[in-house]
Symmetry: C2
């Protein structure tokens, strides 16, 4: 099976990290079906590594709630449409908290960084580097979140980030097949968020969040609700 997660992001990564990234993608795309039982030995054989990195990977996936430990081995939990909604509950909760804090700060430096990221996103679209575009999207949000220097908010973010990353990656790949005008709209959404922050405009941020979230969430759910589409998303990378 071809790797689902971009190799580019794994240079210098340990085998453990590679296994996590790959398993996560397979679980989320249902290339590994829910309820499948995974054991360390079996995975070690399949990935041609020892049990040590596999153990590490399974622990990470457990903490991300993608698998649940049972008496012997772990069983794949995967994610459903309901889970995706729930992830976006968390995002909305976290990002709203962050915006509230931004209102009482000077955000010039942040605004500058966000402008840079938007420019880079435009370049990524221009050259159809969808994976890069996805990572920039995520980094945009992470930059905002980190800017308030709230250790535990950052921690929350880092807990849901890996799954978010997969979701965005997949939904963007799918869009590319489907309708690449969508990328313009994604960029416009981010420009709206940027403007809200620059002007500390509470009404605008609510609009922006809901626009952005509904947009991404709908796309992701659309993707998940249709087995055929999921297959396209999986294969869009495998065929590369």
């Amino acid at each position: 099976m071809k790797a689902l997660y971009p190799e580019k992001r794994l240079v210098n990564a340990s085998m453990g990290a590679r296994v996590v990234a790959e398993l996560r993608m397979r679980i989320i795309t249902k290339a590994i079906q829910d309820e499948t039982v995974l054991t360390e030995n079996q995975l070690a054989k399949e990935f041609q590594v020892s049990r040590s990195p596999i153990r590490e990977a399974l622990r990470t996936l457990t903490s991300e709630n993608l698998v649940r430990p049972e008496r012997m081995g772990v069983v794949v939990v995967g994610i459903s449409e309901k889970d995706i909604e729930e992830i976006y509950d968390i995002r909305l909760m976290v990002e709203s908290f962050v915006f509230e804090r931004l209102l009482h700060k000077d955000n010039d430096k942040l605004v500058g960084e966000l402008e840079k990221l938007i420019e880079m996103m435009k370049i990524a679209v221009k050259y159809k580097d969808i994976d890069e575009f996805s990572f920039l999207d995520l980094e945009f949000h992470e930059t905002i979140i980190r800017s308030i220097n709230h250790r535990y908010i950052s921690m929350l973010w880092s807990n849901i980030k890996p799954v978010m990353e997969c979701l965005i990656l997949l939904s963007m790949r799918y869009r590319l097949e489907e309708n690449d005008k969508d990328f313009e709209r994604v960029i416009a959404n981010h420009e709206l968020i940027l403007e809200s922050i620059a002007n500390k405009d509470t009404n605008l941020i609510n609009q922006a969040f809901h626009k952005n979230f509904n947009d991404v969430q709908n796309k992701v759910e659309q993707l998940w609700s249709n087995e055929e589409m999921m297959k396209i998303a999986r294969e869009s990378i495998e065929s590369k």
Copy 2:
């Protein structure tokens, strides 16, 4: 050094789990100072186990933000008063979200469970079993959170829970030394929360949350702000 974490909670636990529990307590009580560099070999020697469980422990502590990985070994981050405030930001955020959901549900079963927990807390106070009281306190909150069946909210909770557990454990032990009338007030706070849920009373829950949070947070911070008090909390268990 005597164990800081109750042995009772570690029956059947793996060495890895024990090491995590113990290191977490030592870091939070500053028995291990911030900025200390910990390496796997050194800890393996100290705890008389191999590197495998130590590795596992350090990974867990990293995910909890109590240590941060560096090129060689991990360095202890620990928690400050600001961090404690931030943890309570998260709690307030999460528990408010949960209460909002509770308003649209039938909570009879939940209310029953909470009543049971409060009774048990009273017994724990009667027999001065402070560690048990602390765990019941935490379980009270966890029961509420789990009741809305929100996978990612539960995940967030499980990420901050271990540190919360230590904080509550320490603050309760300290109270016992200081003024054991406090326990009555903690119970009263929980009864207030219970009542808010039973009656779906939005105003009351805000009062209850703020009362409970301010109470615990103040106690904890009071504890942290004074080196001498921290020593008392540490030793209150060591002398057992």
